[in-house]
């Protein structure tokens, strides 16, 4: 039983299906998510697959400051996902509300409505930053589930790491 549990935990890290939810974003982050799935950075390398239905998904990608109107929908769709589920907030708006913070009609951040596992800042974040965030999430998950990665996923050149870090910090 222990072996099977371990295998399924490993499978969870190896094949996250992502589902994309726009919680009031300006579409900038959405386009960058699509760009991260495109040939240049191809998130499918890690087994990440974009699915349409929240029932199939493991990870929900949220973009945008949660508006009052979309909050109940966001919570409902979060509840429709099957356990175990994770939420990634993509973009400054989804992380903290961004330029809309304090506005009368936004909550300011996805974590005001539902629990969030990872934050990827940026307005909009570069596709490389999204890839980096996805990879970090997988790393954290494998630590949580008790599976350590034996091999580093991809050797990244020094200057690329710098640019990714800059992109994440910016």
């Amino acid at each position: 039983m222990g072996f099977l549990r371990k295998l399924i935990n490993r499978a969870r890290v190896k094949s996250p299906y992502v589902f994309h939810f726009n919680s009031g974003s300006c579409n900038g982050c959405d386009i960058e998510i699509i760009a991260a799935l495109m040939p240049r950075l191809d998130l499918e390398r890690f087994g990440i697959k974009l699915v349409g239905s929240p029932r199939h998904a493991d990870v929900m990608l949220c973009t945008g400051p949660v508006t009052e109107q979309i909050k109940p929908r966001l919570q409902r769709i979060y509840e429709q996902m099957a356990e175990p589920k994770f939420v990634v907030a993509i973009g400054s708006c989804a992380c903290s509300g961004g330029v809309f913070r304090g506005s009368y009609n936004v909550l300011g951040g996805v974590d005001q409505a539902i629990p969030v596992t990872a934050y990827i800042p940026g307005c909009p974040p570069k596709p490389s930053a999204i890839t980096y965030g996805a990879y970090k999430l997988l790393e954290v998950l494998s630590e949580q589930l008790g599976i350590s990665e034996d091999v580093a996923a991809e050797p990244v050149a020094e200057e690329q790491t710098e640019s990714i870090k800059e992109a994440v910090e910016a």
């Binding site: 295998l7 399924i8 935990n9 490993r10 499978a11 969870r12 190896k14 094949s15 495109m38 040939p39 191809d42 499918e44 390398r45 890690f46 087994g47 697959k49 699915v51 349409g52 239905s53 029932r55 199939h56 493991d58 429709q80 099957a82 356990e83 175990p84 996923a153 991809e154």
Partner: protein
């Protein structure tokens, strides 16, 4: 005593054939392998890498997807018909496995000349076509039992695909049956290949198989609901259509059933049109004459050889199907129905008439019988 022992050995061999090779385990292995090849080829054609970090070049990715879905929570909608909702994935999986058991991969019945599938009897082409239609009907049921508007829309669209493309599929499979004068999958294959002591057909007959093969590939793409015929689970308009409410184990089973249907589709194309698991026998050399076939039929080397040739030919068909998936965008519903009824069905009917005409008038006139 000897008779009982022989009986036990026979039962053991048969159950090994059904459960492991070339039965359920082998077919599931092929299904996961085909999905990997499909995804990888699709990604490479789009200039992407595809799965990379799960096993060698991501070869374990479909297995990992399957295991992950097995470990996920299993949700059933409140309004759904719960028993039927839970039953549909089982029915789909078992029907698809039964379908693949009709494919002659290695010789499971040495008493009958030629390679036989696990299930093989006179008239099994009709059963195969019947069960593959039932698969489409289970898809419709899956949509309706989930009681979701998206699911029901997807189910309705599947029904529409069914009435448009099931007919050319059946008509295209009549041609090999007419040429060989048999309704048994293994006899059709062995006669078309001209192997195992069964009288071969004149080569001129094989030209008649080209058009039905093209129709078959188009129709089977619609049967599998892959792009350009994926209106029934269009992600961008009706979020996965009939699959929308399925999660966890049920979704894992549905995905496996779809992959097994891909194995069945490629295997059926190989069996009916590409000569089945024969390859070296077609080389006109002394080494590959009758002795080779009997050696292959009696030893375990033959099992590996036939399985490898079957895999090789099926991969070619899978690559053709993946190529179609990449080249086209999703067609609209009206475009699909129009393509089906205005071009594919008339083409199939004309082809049927041409074959009959050639068989009755032209070939006897030319002296090719």
């Amino acid at each position: 005593m000897q008779g009982i022992l022989d009986g036990i050995v026979h039962i053991l061999i048969q159950s090994f054939g059904i459960l492991v090779f070339p039965g359920i385990f082998f077919i599931s292995f092929l299904a996961l392998l085909w999905e990997w090849i499909d995804r990888k080829f699709y990604a490479r054609l789009q200039n992407r890498m595809g799965p990379m970090h799960t096993g060698w070049h991501g070869i374990l990715q479909p297995l990992m997807d399957f295991l992950k879905l097995l470990g996920k929570e299993d949700l059933t909608p409140e309004k759904a018909d719960k028993r039927s909702f839970a039953a549909v994935p089982f029915v789909m999986l078992s029907l698809s496995i039964i379908l693949t058991m009709f494919l002659p991969i290695v010789d499971m019945n040495p008493l009958v000349p030629g390679i036989q599938g696990i299930l093989s009897f006179e008239g099994d082409v009709i059963i195969v076509l019947f069960i593959s239609t039932l698969m489409a009907i289970t898809i419709v049921l899956a949509g309706y039992f989930s009681s979701n508007p998206f699911g029901q829309t997807g189910a309705a669209r599947t029904g529409m695909l069914l009435i448009s493309f099931e007919i050319p599929l059946i008509i295209s499979m009549i041609t090999p049956a007419m040429l060989t004068g048999s309704l048994r999958v293994s006899t059709i294959m062995n006669r078309l290949a001209g192997q195992a002591g069964i009288a071969s057909l004149p080569l001129a007959y094989l030209w008649l198989l080209i058009l039905p093969f093209i129709i078959f590939i188009v129709a089977i793409q619609a049967e599998l609901e892959r792009i350009p015929f994926d209106v029934s689970h269009a992600e961008t308009e009706i979020v996965h259509g009939w699959q929308v409410e399925y999660s966890g184990k049920k979704l894992a089973m549905i995905h496996l059933a779809e992959d097994i249907m891909l194995v069945y589709a490629a295997g059926l194309a190989v069996t009916m049109f590409l000569g089945g698991p024969y390859l070296l026998e077609f080389i006109p050399l002394e080494v590959f004459s009758v002795g080779f076939a009997s050696l292959m039929a009696t030893t375990w080397v033959g099992w590996i050889y036939y399985a490898l040739v079957f895999i090789l030919k099926s991969v070619i068909v899978v690559l053709i199907l993946s190529n179609m998936r990449t080249l086209f965008a999703r067609w609209r519903i009206d475009q699909i129905v129009r393509a089906g009824w205005k071009f594919i069905v008339p083409l199939a009917l004309v082809n049927l008439m041409v074959v009959q005409f050639a068989l009755v008038y032209i070939f006897p006139l030319l002296g090719v019988v």
